[in-house]
């Protein structure tokens, strides 16, 4: 039996970012699959650009890794030239421009960008595979589990949550959503970022 190739669903992914009070959290699942077969259970989808800027890349895993390498390259040069870190809003504009360059042969990914901007104000956004930005004040989601994630976040989210509560909320939203999606799951990976520290936690969920 052959499954019709849906390129955005080939590897499976789940990504969510949420804004809290002077902090943000970004979380992903850990499964890497080749359609229905699971190939890895420790796959990294969220990458650090600098201490206060993270990007998660859902969709085709090889495009996610390649695009991440290109973005790190651009940011390193920017840091050397301008002697400062990139603001999250600026980085989002850069990602959008890079994705649109490939308008007629795009990267099959959907990024989720989360960072602390000027005066440590949390910033999150997502965009489609050709760079259409979507800014949000509360949460953004991406991946094969995105529909469940929308529902879970919408019901669980409250504005101005402190770091611990934000961590609990994003973890519950992620785990309950990936349980409803056969292509994502096998645990969770959560980054909680405040102006002073970055906490990284692995979640144990249903391993199936």
């Amino acid at each position: 039996m052959s499954v019709k190739l849906q390129i955005f669903e080939y590897n499976g992914s789940a990504l969510v970012a949420m804004v809290g009070k002077n902090c943000f959290a970004i979380a992903s699942d850990r499964r890497l699959g080749v359609q229905l077969q699971t190939v890895a259970t420790d796959f990294q989808r969220i990458f650090k650009i600098h201490g206060k800027l993270f990007i998660g890349l859902s969709g085709l895993a090889s495009d996610a890794q390649t695009l991440y390498q290109r973005l790190v390259f651009r940011h390193k040069l920017y840091e050397l030239r301008e002697e400062r870190d990139m603001k999250p809003e600026t980085f989002a504009s850069l990602v959008s421009a890079i994705l649109y360059e490939k308008r007629f042969g795009p990267y099959f990914i959907q990024p989720v960008i989360a960072g602390l901007g000027d005066e440590d104000k949390p910033f999150i956004c997502t965009m489609d595979s050709i760079g259409a930005k979507e800014l949000a004040k509360d949460f953004v989601v991406a991946g094969t589990a995105s529909e469940s994630l929308y529902g879970a976040c919408e019901s669980m989210f409250k504005p101005d949550m402190e770091a611990e509560e934000l961590f609990e909320t994003i973890s519950q939203a992620l785990l309950s959503s990936v349980d409803r999606d056969c292509l994502s799951g096998w645990g969770g990976h959560v980054y909680l970022v405040t102006p002073t520290e970055v906490t990284e936690k692995i979640l144990k969920g249903r391993m199936d």
Binding site: R81, E82, K87, E89, T90, S93, L94, A97
Partner: protein, 244 residues
């Protein structure tokens, strides 16, 4: 000196280690009309003489101070008036055009206005390329770039060689040594923008041949509002009256 034998090709070093064409370009700049810039605590002012070859020239059509972006302005120093025909004033137009394009490209990519240092560096890179390429000659202008960004007010000078310098206050063109001495005496770090404009006018007056008026000088300012503007003749008149 055997240098003159090496002045035919701009890409050949002379025995004394100079690129003779660039030296000539700097000389051209050094004999041009005086322009100067002063960085104040809350802004930057740039000013220049505007000597026209004849009273028949419509002075409102001549503008030596231009803006590169809403928050960065530039003035250039050229050799002499005849060089307007021999290719120096137009050199500045080419540079201004390229700089504006670079600033817009930066904005298109990052949706952020270009920092002054980055624009100066890119402009200087263009000028350097024309000292190391085949079939071209160096630009015959030096630029004084005034801008205000997140790092505060900034003043840069860019030379035909492609070197750039950050200044608290600087002058170029004729009379540069007198002007710089005058500026050294009068410059203070906590100067306000208005004081800087007065000082700029007085410095121009030092070496001015004839009567200074709003028709034969140009002044551009940028304050903490981060908007570069060229002063109108009536605004210049107001400052001139305060100086008298």
């Amino acid at each position: 000196m055997g240098d003159s034998q090496y002045s035919f090709s701009l890409t050949t070093f002379s025995p004394s280690g100079k690129l003779v064409q660039i030296e000539h370009a700097l000389t051209a700049v050094g004999s041009g009309q005086t322009s100067l810039g002063i960085k104040a605590a809350n802004g930057v002012v740039i000013a220049t003489e505007k000597k026209l070859p004849s009273i028949l020239v419509d002075e409102t059509s001549v503008q030596k101070i231009q803006s590169l972006t809403p928050n960065i302005g530039v003035v250039y120093s050229i050799a002499n008036l005849y060089s307007l025909c021999s290719g120096m004033g137009p050199d500045s137009r080419v540079l201004i055009r390229k700089s504006r394009k670079q600033a817009e490209q930066y904005y298109r990519l990052y949706k952020e206005p270009i920092p002054v240092t980055q624009l100066v560096r890119e402009t200087a890179t263009v000028m350097q390329e024309f000292t190391q390429s085949g079939g071209v000659r160096p630009f015959g202008v030096s630029l004084l770039v005034a801008g205000f960004d997140d790092k505060g007010p900034q003043l840069y000078q860019v030379d035909p060689s492609g070197s750039y310098f950050s200044w608290k206050a600087s002058a170029m063109g004729k009379n540069v040594s007198n002007a710089k001495t005058f500026l050294e005496k009068r410059y203070t770090d906590d100067m306000e923008l208005d004081d800087a404009v007065h000082t700029a006018i007085l410095t121009l007056k030092e070496g001015f041949e004839g009567q200074i008026s709003s028709k034969n000088i140009e002044i551009g300012v940028i304050g903490s509002d981060k908007i570069f503007k060229v002063l109108t003749p009536s605004e210049i008149d107001d400052y001139l009256q305060e100086v008298e």
